[in-house]
Amino acid sequence: MSPRVAVALLAMVLLVPAVAIPAAAQSGLEIMKRQREVQHVRDEEERQLLRLVSKSGATKERRVTRWVLSGPGDLDKILVRFQAPRDVENTALLTWEAKDGNDDQWLYLPSVKKAKRIAASGKKNRFMGTDFAYEDLRSEPLAVHIYALLGAETLDGADCWIIDAKPATERQAADSGYSHRKIWIRKDHYVTVKREFYDRQDRLEKVETHRKLVNVTGTIWRSDELEMHDVQNGTRTLVTIESRAINRGLRDDFFSEPELIR
């Protein structure tokens, strides 16, 4: 064995456990926690093109920019601002995640030049005509869900864990529009590639599929295309990431009312 091969094997032995822990060794919650660790960034900016496709195939476009800042306790601050179309341009939603899921949210409507606090009950409501509910857009709230490892499956040639997420509290169950969700997470990169959303009657409501996975840097993977398919209504929202930047040093005060109404 040449020294070069020996070093390579040693590296594999040392590194593989760090990113591909055997499924049997982890519970659903551990996988979710590990995913959060592996995919964690301090801050992130994405410019997104959203195409809303009706049942008949008619298409509408929305353009948004989404900024995320990770805070203590893995609670994010999220600012989403519409760039197009014209009638919603500059409309913005600021979210400060709370551990109990009772997030602070403000909606800025340019027509009245005012940011208004909104009740978090709107979480299950669709976000600006898309197939995404507000709760689909926040980061995974680990503290208020129970995660069960259902098994494994190969998806598009990649081994995935399938994890079932159910509300852990009555409050979360009341606030959420879903009885439970199934989440497919790739074993190699700890990145979510598919989610199924089940309504309160336990019927499949929506399927979210991630495509074009890209390695942004290090262990950080993201999908450049995303589709949310409402199987009950027959509508789809297709998301294309037009640009992305991570860890560029966004300030905390960027996620504030003065910035929201700027």
Partner: protein
């Protein structure tokens, strides 16, 4: 409703002069926005608006049943490097009633009429980190309530049609500093701009009953000198899920009150004389907003302390809640319920004031009142049928004295992302000497077409 509610203020102030699975994949879909160059690429955007109001009755001063208005608004915005931005909003407008007359550019705007061409906003902003300074003709929006914001005192309104009013920009300088949880804004407005009031021959200028005769002067506006400068500040914080603000305003009320006196026309013939003047006041205030589950709860209150040209120091407050119900039905997506209660009370009466109590002028009643929120309940029910269609029912009940009411039903529909249509009905009930009842002949149907580009 908020527009109509704000309108309350204006009113008859100058009444007296005359008184599938097979859906295409992402990559297969065309990108609609790739179709050719756009004005927005040059920093331009705008809207064209057509409004038509059909009134069901004539009034003694106005028999024009249908009033049409057109507005073309163009906005140009440009970033000035990393440090600032410039925004200019210009507009061209006309109507067939006479709201718009002439071409005038005034600082401040004091014309009774709108100009055919005008600047709605001009803002130069410079920012560095959490600090920002803006100068220009600006519009501010403070407060947390829906129907009426007692802390929002900086801008006058165009009340030519009180139920379709709009804020007027004020030439001003503002400095802001913000941290995630605390923000402070300080504003200076060097010129006084009065609200634009209903024209003398307008149906919105209340008819004064027979037997009431008075001489009404032209409004006496504050001199445009250093003493006319108005100041305001607002400190806002977010603590434990509560938004809390303290505000302060030192300036003028933008709608006039009447100074009462007499004028001798001949020996032994004396008539009442009414002179519209503007109250200077100091207005400390506070507001809050928070959520409890599905409820958003808010309130705001001010003390309006008279410095000059005022009869009473007053407390004004409003509190209420919003409740959002996500229905999720195919034909009904969401319901929104809003309930608010507003109250005004006299804190101190200025004994020797020569300012009339506009709420209870002998023979005139509340026809000259300029505040619908003395003792009022406000409600709104909004049904969002889809992302494109919303139905709204709004109402205000004035309980101060004999009850009177305002009710509006409105439907809005987004035909396309660029074309919106709005239609509705305004109803006003009450005795002629009540706040809303004075406009009892002004029930109407309206339609608004808006094209955005």
């Amino acid at each position: 409703m908020s527009r109509a509610a704000g309108a309350l203020l204006a009113l008859g102030l100058l009444a007296a002069p005359a008184a599938a699975d097979e859906l295409p994949r992402l990559a297969d879909l065309p990108t609609l926005s790739q179709a050719g160059p756009k004005l927005s690429d040059l920093g331009f955007k705008g809207q064209a608006v057509f409004k038509s109001f059909t009134h069901f009755s004539s009034t003694p001063s106005d028999d024009q049943a249908v009033v049409n208005e057109g507005l073309f608004q163009l906005e140009w915005a440009r970033k000035l490097g990393a440090w600032g931005a410039l925004k200019i909003v210009g507009e061209a407008r006309d109507d067939d009633f006479g709201f718009t007359r002439g071409l005038h550019f005034q600082i401040p705007e004091t014309s009774k009429h709108r100009s055919y061409l005008g600047l709605k906003e001009v803002t130069l902003a410079a920012h560095q980190g959490p600090f920002e300074v803006t100068v220009g003709k600006q519009i501010f929006a403070w407060g947390t309530a829906d129907a009426f914001n007692p802390t929002d005192r900086l801008n006058p309104y165009d009340y030519l049609d009180p139920f379709d009013n709009e804020k007027l920009g004020v030439w001003s300088a503002a400095a802001r500093v913000g941290t995630p949880r605390v923000s402070l804004v300080v504003v200076a407005v060097p010129f006084f701009t009065p609200s634009r009031l209903p024209l003398e021959h307008s149906r919105w200028t209340p008819t004064v009953p027979a037997g009431f005769v008075a001489v009404v002067d032209d409004p006496v506006r504050p001199a445009q000198d250093a003493d006319a400068t108005q100041y305001a500040a607002r400190l806002k914080t977010t603590v434990g899920g509560w938004d809390l603000s303290l505000s302060y305003y030192d300036g003028f009320e933008h709608t006039p009150v009447f100074r009462g006196s007499t004028i001798g026309l001949a020996p032994g013939v004396v008539l009442p004389r009414l002179t519209p003047v503007y109250t200077r006041e100091k207005v400390p205030g506070a507001d809050f907003s928070t959520t409890f589950g599905r409820f958003e709860v808010h309130g705001e209150a001010v003390a309006r302390l008279v410095e000059s040209n005022g009869r009473d120091d007053r407390f004004q407050g409003i509190a209420g809640l919003n409740y959002t119900l996500d229905v999720g039905h195919r034909w009904l997506d969401q319901m929104l319920f809003v309930v608010e209660y507003a109250r005004e009370t006299v804190l101190r009466h200025h004994r020797h004031s020569d300012i009339l109590d506009s709420d209870t002028v002998p023979l005139v009643g509340a026809r000259l009142a300029n505040n619908a929120f003395r003792d009022a309940v406000v409600g709104r029910i909004q049904a969002k049928l889809s992302e494109d269609t919303v139905l709204k029912l709004s109402g205000i009940a004035d309980l101060a004295g004999a009850p009177s009411h305002y009710l509006q039903f409105k439907a809005t529909h987004r035909v396309t992302d660029a074309l919106h249509v709005e239609a509705g009905l305004d109803f006003l009930t009450g005795k002629p000497d009540t706040f809303w009842g004075r406009w009892g002949d002004n029930d109407r149907f309206f339609v608004v077409l808006r094209y955005l580009f």
